[in-house]
Amino acid sequence: MKKVFSRPESMKKNIFHYCAGCGHSIVHRLIAEVIDELGIRGITIGVPPAGCAVLAYNYFDIDMIEAQHGRGPATATGIKRVLPDRIVFSYQGDGDLAAIGIAESFHAANRGENITVVFINNAVYGMTGGQMAPTSLLSQKTTTSPVGRNNILDGYPVQVSEIFSLLPGTSYIERCTVNSPAAILKTKKAIRKAFQYQIDDLGFSLVEILSPCPTNWKMTSIESCHWIDEVMSKSFPLGVLKDLPAAEQKKKKGEQAP
C-alpha cells in the first residue's frame, strides 16, 4: 500500500496545544513540509516568539532559540550574520511583530537581512486572552476594546505587509490565509518561495498569514473561516505585495525579447 500522508520529518511527535480551529498548527505543518521538501532540516534555525507559538520548539524538530517578545528578527539577525549559510526564520504573531517588536522587524526588513519571517495575523492577542492587537479591525470587539476598536482612541489596524513592501530592503512579501484547503496550498507555496529565496540569497522575505482564532473571536471554526473571507481580508487584502526577484526576472526577459 502506498503511504500518501504522514508527519513531516521536521515535526516532533507531540500533540499541538493549540485550540481547535487555530491556524498555528496548520502553518507549523506547512513550514515543516517545506523544510522537508527543500531538504534543509539540518541547516535550519527557527526563532519562535512570545505568544501562543512560544512552544513551537515542542513541535518543530529543528534547532530553535526562543526570542523575547518582539525581538525575533534581531536574534535571527545575530544568528544569520554569524552563520550566513544557515536558513533562519522567525515566527511571529501580530502583537509580537506589529506592536512590541515593530522596530526590530522593520529594521531587519530595512537592512534586507537574508531571513524569512512567518507572520501570523489573527487580529487579537491570543495567548493573553483576546486583547486588542495592532491588527485588530476597526470596530472589532476585544477584551480591551469592549465596544469595538475606535480609530480616535486606538488608531488603525497596522498594514504590515503594505508598509514593509515599501522598504527597498525587502524582496518578497505575500499575504495569505489558511481558512480553506485551496488557501492552505497557496500559503504553502508562499512559504516555500520565501525559504527558496533565502536559500538563493535573495534577501528579506515575509509571509503574512490571516489566521483564525475561534477562541478569542468567540466564533466556531467555520464562522472564523468565513469571517476571514468576509471581513478580515477586506482590511488585509490577500495577494503578492512584492516579488522583487520575479519582477527583475520579468524585466530581464522583456529586455531580451526582440
Binding site: R41, G42, I43, T44, I45, V47, V54, L55, Y57, F60, D61, I62, D63, M64, I65, E66, A67, Q68, R71, A74, T75, A76, T77, G78, I79, K80, R81, V82, L83, R86, I87, A103, E104, F106, H107
Partner: protein, 358 residues
C-alpha cells in the same frame, strides 16, 4: 608586545578583537561612541567579523544573543540609559546561559542625567539588573591596562560560566589615554555542543528560558544559583594598596579608586596612614577579603561617585566589625584627590571616630 598609547574606549575594542570577539552590535550613546566606531573599522578587517549598528539598544542585545547562540564571541556596549534598555536581553542570556560581554561606560543619572563620569549603576550591575533571580559577573577596571586585561578576561569568564559579563567603567575611563600592553589572549575553550548551528543529521536543540512548570523553573533557578556560588568562591579579585600599616582604609573602585590613590599619596606625605581596598570584581564582591581587613583595621571610608551603593556591600562584608564612613559625589561630579584627601583628613582627626553617615 609593545606599549601603546590609546584611549580607554578603543582599548576595550582592541582587547575584544584580540580576545576573538567577532560580533559586535551597538547603538550610539555618549560617552562610549568610540567603541562602536572602533569595532566597525576593526571587525571589517577580521575574517568573519560582523559589526551591526542596531536600531536600538534592545535590538543590539538580542542580536548579541543570536550571535552568541550561533557560537561567536559577541559584545555590545553602551552607557547607563542604554544599559537599562538592554536588561531584557541580559536577563534572557542569564536564563539561557549564553555568554557575552556587555560594556557599561557609566554616566550621570537617573533618567537621561548627563554625560559626565558617574558610578550610579552599581546596584543595577551587581544585582542582576533585569528581572528574575540571577547575577552577572561585573568587572570594575581602574586603568587603561585593566581595561585591556579585564576585557580579555571577561570573554574567558563568560565562556567558562556561560553567563553575561559586564565591564563597569565610566566616561572618564573611556575618554582618557594611557599606555597599555595587550597580553596574549588564551585560546578559547567553549564546547561545540553549546553552539546552535542547525541540527545536521542529529538531534535538534532548543535554547529557551521559558519553563512553565514551577518546580522545573525552581530547579533551573537553583542550578543557576549553584553556578553563581562557584563564581563567588573562585572569581573574586581585589587590590590592596598601602594597607599594611593603615589606620584608615578607603574602599573605592574604578575611577573612584584612582582618585583615592591620589588622595592617599597626599595623605601619606602628611603622615596619615591611609590605605585602599579596591574591589576589582564588583560581583562577586570580595567580601571575605574585606572582612579579613576589618580584623586589624577599625576605620573604613567608602568613596563612590554616587549617593552610596557599594557601601551596602561593604557593610554586609564588615558586619559591624569596624566603623564605616561614606563620601559620595553623584550626578557626574568627579572630585579631585585633594578634595577626597581633605575629607579623609577631617574624619581621620575626628576623636569620635568615623561615623556612618546613614
Amino acid at each position: 608586545m609593545n606599549k601603546v598609547l590609546m584611549q580607554g574606549n578603543k582599548i576595550i575594542g582592541e582587547a575584544a578583537i584580540r580576545a576573538g570577539c567577532r560580533f559586535y552590535a551597538g547603538y550610539p550613546i555618549t560617552p562610549q561612541n568610540e567603541i562602536p566606531e572602533y569595532m566597525s573599522e576593526r571587525l571589517r578587517q577580521e575574517e568573519g567579523g560582523v559589526f551591526v549598528q542596531s536600531e536600538s539598544e534592545v535590538a543590539a542585545i538580542h542580536m548579541v544573543i543570536g550571535a552568541s547562540a550561533a557560537g561567536a564571541r559577541a559584545m555590545t556596549s553602551s552607557s547607563s540609559p542604554g544599559i537599562s534598555l538592554k536588561q531584557e536581553g541580559i536577563s534572557s542570556m542569564a536564563a539561557c546561559e549564553l555568554p557575552a560581554v556587555i560594556v557599561n561606560m557609566m554616566r550621570g543619572g537617573p533618567g537621561l542625567g548627563n554625560i559626565s563620569p558617574s558610578q550610579g549603576d552599581y546596584f543595577q550591575a551587581t544585582r542582576g539588573g533585569g528581572h528574575g533571580d540571577y547575577r552577572i559577573i561585573v568587572l570594575g577596571p581602574d586603568s587603561a591596562q585593566e581595561l585591556a586585561d579585564l576585557t580579555m578576561d571577561a570573554f574567558d569568564l563568560a565562556d567558562q560560566y556561560r553567563t553575561p559579563v559586564m565591564i563597569l567603567a565610566d566616561g572618564m575611563m573611556g575618554q582618557m589615554m594611557e599606555p597599555v600592553v595587550f597580553k596574549t589572549p588564551k585560546p578559547r575553550v567553549y564546547p561545540e555542543s553549546f553552539i546552535m548551528k542547525g541540527a545536521g543529521a542529529g538531534k535538534s536543540k532548543i535554547i529557551r528560558g521559558l519553563i512553565l512548570d514551577p518546580l522545573d523553573m525552581e530547579e533551573h533557578n537553583w542550578t543557576l544559583d549553584r553556578k553563581y556560588q562557584v563564581i563567588a568562591q573562585k572569581e573574586t579579585r581585589h587590590e590592596l594598596y598601602n594597607t599594611d600599616d593603615a589606620e584608615l582604609i578607603l574602599v573605592a573602585y574604578g575611577t573612584g579608586a584612582r582618585i583615592a590613590k591620589g588622595a592617599i599619596k597626599r595623605l601619606r606625605e602628611s603622615g596619615l596612614r591611609v590605605g585602599l581596598f579596591r574591589p576589582i570584581t564588583l560581583w562577586p564582591f570580595p567580601t571575605n577579603e574585606l572582612r579579613d581587613l576589618a580584623k586589624k583595621v577599625e576605620n573604613f571610608l567608602v568613596f563612590e561617585m554616587s549617593t552610596g551603593q557599594m557601601v551596602e556591600d561593604v557593610r554586609l562584608a564588615i558586619q559591624g566589625r569596624a566603623r564605616i564612613g561614606f563620601h559620595g559625589r553623584p550626578g557626574g561630579v568627579v572630585p579631585t584627590p585633594v578634595e577626597l584627601a581633605n575629607v579623609v583628613m577631617r574624619k581621620y582627626d575626628s576623636k569620635a571616630g568615623i561615623i556612618d553617615h546613614f
